[in-house]
Structures are given as structure tokens and as C-alpha cells.
């Protein structure tokens, strides 16, 4: 029996993402998650909070508070969001690259199994065996070629590293927006400079209070 999936989110809204809306719509879900061969360019205008939705909230807020928040958003756009966009994009690109390699290996492994099975059945045909043996060698050489290519700047650690930094940057964005520690103890230019410094640290893999690149 096929179960009906529940509503996608508590409010029915889709989470914020750099992914194009309606990407591979109508495809089986597992196929939608397959990597793409042509990766889209970085979206320089991506925002963690949609500007129209932000204004909708701020229009109902106190004028002075709304102005302070707008100033925070402007500062974050220049000091944090530009770094977040690049990290998030790089993480996605490396994830895509990693999966392209892995799925190619899976296809080659399936081909190797297939050739091995046919070889086991065709023991009395010397010509066919020679062709299959050549095919088997070709698969081995192709696999080694791919492994050598992916060995330069391996995508898995780069995916992990960029994703960790991007997620830390996302949390820093909301930490500043909500005026949490350490931003609640300073004001004005000092508060803005603190964000700039912490964003630059996260960007190089130094997470405040955590060993470099070891934390989440």
C-alpha cells in the first residue's frame, strides 16, 4: 500500500535554498537527488531572508527597531553573506562532483560484474573470452584513470569542509540578527567589527570556541 506523505512543512512552506525552484519536478525522488553534469553558476543575489518577507515583518515592527535591523542586514550582506554564498555554493559543487565520481564507479562496478558473469558462461568460446578480457581491462583502466583525477583535490573532504563552514556562517547570521552572545555585550561600530572578525574566522575554518575545522 502506498502511504500518502504528510504536508512538507508545518506551514506548508519550502525551506530557503539556492536550488532552482521546480528542479527535476515530476521525476522519481531518488532520481531527483542524482548529481548534475552541468552545474549552475553562483547566485550572487541569494539571501537567507527573502527581502520582501523581511519588509513584511519589519513593516509591523517599531520604526526605530526596524531601522536598526535594516542596518544589521546591510552590514551582514557585505561582511557575512558574500562569504556564506561562496561557501554554500562550493559545498554544493563539491557534493555534486563527489557523487558524479561515486556513481561512475558504481556503473563501472556493475559493468565489471556483468563482464565477469558472461566470462563464466562463455568458457568454451575463446574469441569471446578474449574480447571480454579486453573489456575487463578497459574497465580497470578507466577506474584507475578516474581515481587518479579525483585524487587531486578530493571532493569529499572539500564538501565536508565547505558545508561545515557554511552552516556555521548561517548560524552566525542568526546569532547576530537575534543579538545573542557575544553581540549583546557591544554596540555600534564595535558590534559590527566583531561580526566582521568572526565571519572572517569562520571563513578560514576557525570557529569561535571550537578547534579549527573540528566542530560542526
Amino acid at each position: 500500500m502506498r502511504l500518502k506523505l504528510p504536508n512538507l512543512s508545518p506551514s506548508g512552506a519550502q525551506p530557503v535554498s539556492q536550488e532552482k525552484k521546480g528542479f527535476r519536478q515530476g521525476w522519481p525522488v531518488w532520481l531527483r537527488q542524482m548529481p548534475r553534469l552541468s552545474f549552475p553558476p553562483l547566485n550572487e543575489n541569494f539571501q537567507l531572508i527573502d527581502p520582501a518577507a523581511l519588509e513584511e515583518v519589519l513593516s509591523q515592527a517599531d520604526t526605530a527597531a526596524a531601522e536598526r535591523i535594516r542596518r544589521d542586514m546591510r552590514h551582514m550582506d557585505g561582511e557575512l553573506l558574500r562569504l556564506f554564498r561562496r561557501l554554500d555554493y562550493e559545498a554544493k559543487a563539491q557534493q555534486n562532483r563527489y557523487r558524479v565520481y561515486q556513481i561512475t564507479y558504481l556503473l563501472l562496478a556493475a559493468l565489471a560484474t556483468l563482464i565477469g558473469s558472461i566470462m563464466a558462461l562463455a568458457t568454451d568460446n575463446a574469441d569471446l573470452l578474449a574480447v571480454l578480457a579486453f573489456g575487463e581491462t578497459l574497465v580497470a583502466l578507466l577506474t584507475t584513470y578516474l581515481a587518479t583525477i579525483s585524487g587531486r583535490e578530493p571532493p569529499l573532504p572539500l564538501w565536508m569542509q565547505n558545508r561545515r563552514r557554511a552552516e556555521h556562517m548561517r548560524r552566525e547570521y542568526f546569532r547576530y540578527l537575534c543579538n545573542l552572545e557575544p553581540y549583546d555585550t557591544v554596540q555600534g561600530y564595535e558590534r559590527e567589527m566583531l561580526l566582521s572578525k568572526r565571519a572572517a574566522d569562520i571563513n578560514r575554518g576557525f570557529f569561535p570556541g571550537v578547534k579549527p575545522d573540528e566542530g560542526a
Partner: protein
């Protein structure tokens, strides 16, 4: 002598606006992400499992039918029977290889493990959400403490989930093994070419 200005605590109006933004664009957005991810991963896992089961069934049926036709036809097989046996033999050889590919695909995407991680994160987000400040709290100090607990709790769940996610992503063992075997096979033909400079992970 210049002194550093003492930070002033933000007023209630400021906190209300910041709570609204955090709740809508951090808490609710994160919940939406987990709900969507769990639903998608569950569906993908089920679809791939169905394909694997179908391939396994088809392989078994092909093998059984080869045996049945061979038994019924005996030594004197007609052309049609020979063609059917040939096609079924091809199926019996190809389908297990495709089935193995789908098994490895499930290991690569780790859908079941990620469902567990996101489900747990969703439950923990509900705990953080339960600490959201009530608008009728009269004292600013208590309102601020409640807002802080709510926001820090949310960020902490997001941080834990990222750490667990990082531990869940691994290259499937069967791909690592396949790579080692193929590199051994290719060795006699590519002798003299060492690993590329800086190469430290073949499976990447």
C-alpha cells in the same frame, strides 16, 4: 579620557522584532527543511528498495523459467525455446549486477541514517520552540532570557545536526574495495605512473 560606551540592553520593541525574524526565518525554516528532507529521503529509500526487490524477483523468475523450459523441452529444443532461454539467461546475468548498483546507491546516499538524524533534530527543535518567549511576559529581563534560551536552543540543534551529518557521510566500503581491485588489475598496464602529486584519497 575616552571610555567605551556601556552597552544598552535592547528595548522590548527591538526584541519583539528580532524574535519574529528569528522564529520565522531560522526556527520555522529549519523545521521546514527537516520535514522536507525526511519526506524526500523516506520516499527515495522506499523507491530504491522497491527497485531492488523487483530486480531480485525478476532474477529469480528468470532462473526458474530457464530450468522449467529446459526440463519441458528436453534435448530437442525449438528455435523459439532456445531464444527464450537465451533472453532469460541474459536477464539472469544482467539483473543482479543492476541490483547491486542500487544497493550501493542506497549506501552512498545514506537515506535511512539521515532520516534518523533529521527526525531527532526535528524533535529537539520542538523542545527549543517550547521555550519561545510569551509576548505577555511583563519584565524585559525575563523576556530577554526566554528569547535567548529559545534562540540558543535552536542554534544548538542546528549545530548538533551538522556534526552528526558529517559523521554519517562516508564512501561506501564496496566502492573502496572495487577501486582497490581495479587498480590492482590495471597495475600491469599502467606501471611507472605513481599517484598524482598530493593524491591522498583515491575514492574521492
Amino acid at each position: 579620557m575616552a571610555t567605551t560606551p556601556t552597552p544598552q540592553a535592547p528595548g522590548r520593541q527591538d526584541m519583539l522584532a528580532r524574535y519574529e525574524l528569528f522564529n520565522r526565518f531560522a526556527m520555522q525554516d529549519q523545521k521546514a527543511y527537516y520535514v522536507t528532507a525526511v519526506a524526500n529521503h523516506r520516499k527515495a529509500s522506499r523507491q530504491v528498495n522497491q527497485i531492488r526487490a523487483l530486480l531480485s524477483l525478476a532474477t529469480g523468475l528468470s532462473a526458474a523459467m530457464i530450468g522449467l523450459i529446459a526440463q519441458l523441452a528436453g534435448d530437442e529444443r525449438s528455435t523459439v525455446e532456445a531464444i527464450i532461454i537465451g533472453v532469460l539467461t541474459v536477464f539472469a546475468v544482467i539483473l543482479p549486477a543492476i541490483g547491486a548498483l542500487f544497493t550501493s546507491l542506497a549506501d552512498l546516499f545514506q537515506w535511512d541514517k539521515l532520516i534518523q538524524i533529521y527526525d531527532a533534530a526535528l524533535e529537539n527543535l520542538e523542545v527549543a520552540d517550547a521555550q519561545s518567549p510569551h509576548p505577555e511576559i511583563p519584565q524585559d529581563l525575563i523576556y530577554r532570557a526566554s528569547l535567548r534560551a529559545f534562540a540558543e536552543g535552536t542554534l544548538s540543534v542546528m549545530s548538533d545536526e551538522t556534526a552528526q551529518w558529517g559523521q554519517a557521510i562516508r564512501t561506501p566500503a564496496q566502492i573502496e574495495k572495487f577501486l582497490q581491485e581495479e587498480q590492482k588489475k590495471a597495475d600491469p598496464y599502467s606501471r611507472g605512473f605513481g599517484p598524482a602529486p598530493g593524491e591522498d584519497e583515491g575514492a574521492g
